[in-house]
């Protein structure tokens, strides 16, 4: 019998959520019935999420994509000789040539969807551990210098320079040091951490190991939210595999260095994505925010110097070490260097992951990549940066997406989540939701957040109801937002005003005031 045809059926949660397991079963069943020799590899997602479940066939020309494949499509695909790349309405040609993918700059996500996420060998065969190999041959100061030169900043949202954070930990004294990975990806509209952990978990392990070597930390923790059961399983399996093959443990890659790590599981608290709250949770306490200083880099987990970085920050480290800090830095613009995995979500026809250099515009992302609204109606507002990010009207969609430009327009890039809304959205309702979410998720430590969020919900309800008190209530809301921004301990209370005020400023017609709520397209002064 000839060599088996190789098929890739993603095992990412985004594929499983649209019946990828049933598709894999149908393929196996149909192949057996037809006497075809096939091997199905369960990979991560290529990030073209509107095509999931997207099945790829390995051909001599490259992988050919078919999607979205439903189980009952499978016999027809075999009839169309898809194992040889045959034509079919669901065929998209070579995956790498699909414009959505071809126009990206995938550095951090270079391997996601390509490798078998359970195989160390496959990882190594795809340039994996090249960064760590380079790192163990360097003095720690040179690793720190490379991270600083690369311009890498915290991808969780705060955008703090990673090199400075690492240097602080490296020079801090402590009985132990820790590398903590923040995988509590709670922002709506974000899934980059999840895609990476499920599709290429060894990259994160490699990045954390390099961080350990650079700073003198010997223990790492990945804190993953409980809403991500598949990421938890994938990371745990990858850590076990890395340990079994000597990439974690007492003598990493025969370098004499020690580093090991474990998965810890969150428990449904959004606030634990805030770094000090996450550390409290890791210590087994309520996830209540800590006052800073001391910085976690000086006194973090169990009082020890701790690097705490987001998944994407740490997963960007291997490519920097493997291919040079300058190469990474030269993507991007100004002080926003490198790439960011943007996540296109909400009401978009082609949602998915788009890794691009900083400087791309929102309009390019939602039109060229996103393909406009899924509903077919005009897009009206786009929230960038999660529940604490501003709602941007069409007039702001041409601003370059980099940290500094977004600060200038009163917005933030955050973790790169982009949620698009069509013209049926009621922005007063979204503003109210932002305050309500803050009220639900506040840790309760500081008053502006704990009380302010509840008062904010009430005030927005009064504004939306209209009436003679409306102007006074708007004044009150702005005053409240000012207190929250200036007086909250962390970004939860401090940034909830961003979606609220941006909705009020850019979409005032939705906030009572006599005009009908803008579910009517006429009120949208925005391009399609």
């Amino acid at each position: 019998m000839s060599a088996p045809f190789i098929l890739y059926v993603p095992q990412d949660a985004a594929a499983l959520a649209v019946d990828a397991d049933a598709v894999a079963q149908a393929i196996a069943h149909e192949a057996t019935a037809r006497g075809q020799n096939v091997r199905i590899i369960r990979n991560g997602s290529r990030g073209l999420l509107w095509l999931e479940p997207m099945v790829e066939i390995a051909t001599p020309q490259g992988r050919i994509a078919y999607g979205p494949v439903a189980p009952e499509d499978v016999p027809g695909l075999f009839d169309a000789r898809w194992l040889n790349g045959g034509a079919h309405p669901l065929a998209h040609g070579l995956t790498d040539a699909i414009p959505y993918l071809a126009q990206q700059e995938r550095l951090t996500f270079a391997r996601v969807g390509i490798v078998d996420p359970r195989s160390v060998e496959d990882y190594v065969a795809h340039d994996g551990y090249a960064g760590l190999r380079a790192a163990v041959a360097m003095p720690p100061e040179d690793i720190l210098a490379a991270i600083t030169t690369s311009g890498l900043r915290g991808r969780g949202g705060a955008a703090f320079p990673a090199g400075i954070k690492w240097k602080t930990v490296a020079s801090a004294a402590g009985p132990r040091k820790y590398i903590v990975c923040n995988a509590d990806e709670g922002d709506s509209g974000t899934f980059a951490d999840r895609l990476l952990m499920e599709g290429d978990p060894f990259t994160l392990i490699e990045g954390m190991t390099i961080a350990g070597i650079a700073t003198g930390a010997t223990q790492g923790f990945v804190y993953i939210r409980s809403e991500y059961p598949h990421a938890i399983t994938a990371m745990q399996a990858a850590i076990d595999a890395a340990r079994a093959s000597g990439w974690l443990g007492a003598d990493i890659a025969a370098s004499g260095r020690r580093f090991d790590m474990d998965v810890r599981v969150g428990a449904g608290a959004y606030i634990c994505g805030e770094e000090t709250s996450l550390l409290e949770s890791l210590e087994g306490k309520r996830g209540v925010v800590r006052a800073k200083p001391p910085l976690p880099a000086i006194a973090g987990l169990f009082g020890c110097p701790t690097v705490i970085n987001n998944v994407i920050t740490l997963a960007s480290v291997p490519t920097i070490l493997a291919h040079g800090a300058e190469r990474y830095r030269d993507f991007g613009v100004g002080r926003s260097q490198g790439t960011l995995p943007f996540q296109l979500a909400g009401n978009l026809r082609q949602g998915g992951l788009v890794e691009k250099a900083f400087g791309v515009t929102l309009r390019t992302l939602i039109d060229t990549f996103g393909g406009g609204s899924a509903s077919g109606r005009p897009l009206r507002a786009v929230q960038v940066g999660g529940p604490l990010g501003a709602y941007l009207p069409a007039a702001q969609w041409d601003a370059p997406m980099d940290y500094e430009s977004y600060v200038k327009i009163g917005a933030m890039i955050g973790h790169g989540g982009i949620v698009a809304f069509d013209d049926t959205v009621d922005m007063a309702r979204m503003a109210r939701y932002a305050m309500a979410f803050c009220a639900i998720e506040s840790c309760g430590k500081c008053t502006p957040c704990r009380i302010g969020a509840t008062r904010g919900v009430e005030t927005i309800e009064k504004i939306a109801a209209g009436g003679p008190q409306r102007e006074q209530q708007i004044h009150l809301l702005r005053d409240l937002c000012d207190t929250m921004m200036g007086g909250s301990l962390c970004a939860m209370g401090g940034m909830t005003p961003y979606p609220v005020l941006s909705a009020l400023d850019h979409f005032p017609e939705d906030f009572g005031g006599g005009a009908s709520h803008a579910s009517s397209p006429q009120t949208a002064t925005h391009a399609a």
């Binding site: 999420l49 439903a70 009952e72 499509d73 709506s188 809403e227 810890r264 599981v265 909400g346």
Partner: protein, 216 residues
């Protein structure tokens, strides 16, 4: 030798206490063991019974208030077992942009209970969840820990019926598998008049799951 004391099996040791002791024994030497222990207990018992608080406090040298405080801080932890099927509907922004709130209303109507309650017959617990990371395929939900995306009212009904049928098939009678267990794919979408075996619409607001005050 570890000097912390875990009471040895007492004659009156309940299953909950036994599960707590087992979880403690398994995780007590990991740094910051309380959350891993709580996860282990909930994994075993589907909840963290309040009677375990004293055992946990004693073993970890914490006050009962501290342990209670941790359990009640985290929405994932529950102090009473949920219904047979836990249905979590995403209520966050991305799902809202794709009609998620209509799905939420549909879920309440079809299951016959409001959010964060369990149906009277104990079959379904309906909960809000704030983001499952499936935002490019909103609206999304989880049934018994399994993720589902691109939810429509008809797909919601089929998925719940399938989960019920799968559970019935797993526990006993093979004929139960035929009960509404049709294949769920968008292309087989049919009208929603194939009534799945839903419960009567009765609400039991006191059986609130999650971290509401766990007095008992």
């Amino acid at each position: 030798m570890d000097t912390r004391v875990v009471p040895l099996a007492a004659p009156s040791c309940s299953p909950a206490i036994a599960a707590a002791r087992e979880a403690i024994a398994q995780h007590r030497d990991t740094p910051g063991p309380l959350l891993p222990i709580l996860h282990a207990i909930q994994h075993r018992l589907r909840c963290i019974p309040p009677e375990t608080v004293g055992t946990l406090a004693e073993a970890l040298n914490l006050s009962r208030a501290e342990v209670h405080g941790v359990i009640t801080f985290y929405p994932h932890f529950r102090t009473a077992p949920p219904g047979d099927h836990v249905i979590e509907v995403c209520r966050a922004e991305s799902c809202q942009s794709r009609g998620g709130e209509a799905i939420a209303a549909h879920a309440e109507a079809r299951l016959g209970c409001t959010f964060n309650t369990t149906t009277d017959d104990g079959r379904y617990t309906l909960e809000s969840v704030y983001c499952l990371g499936l935002c490019a395929q909103s609206p999304s939900m989880m049934i018994d820990g399994k993720p589902y995306a691109r939810i429509t009212p008809a797909r919601f009904d089929r998925l719940v019926a399938n989960a019920v049928a799968a559970a019935a098939a797993a526990t006993a009678s093979p004929p139960a598998a035929a009960m509404g267990g049709q294949r769920d794919t968008p292309s087989t979408a049919t009208a929603g008049n194939d009534q799945p075996p839903f419960a009567a619409p009765t609400v039991h607001p006191t059986a609130a799951p999650g971290n509401s005050e766990a007095s008992a």
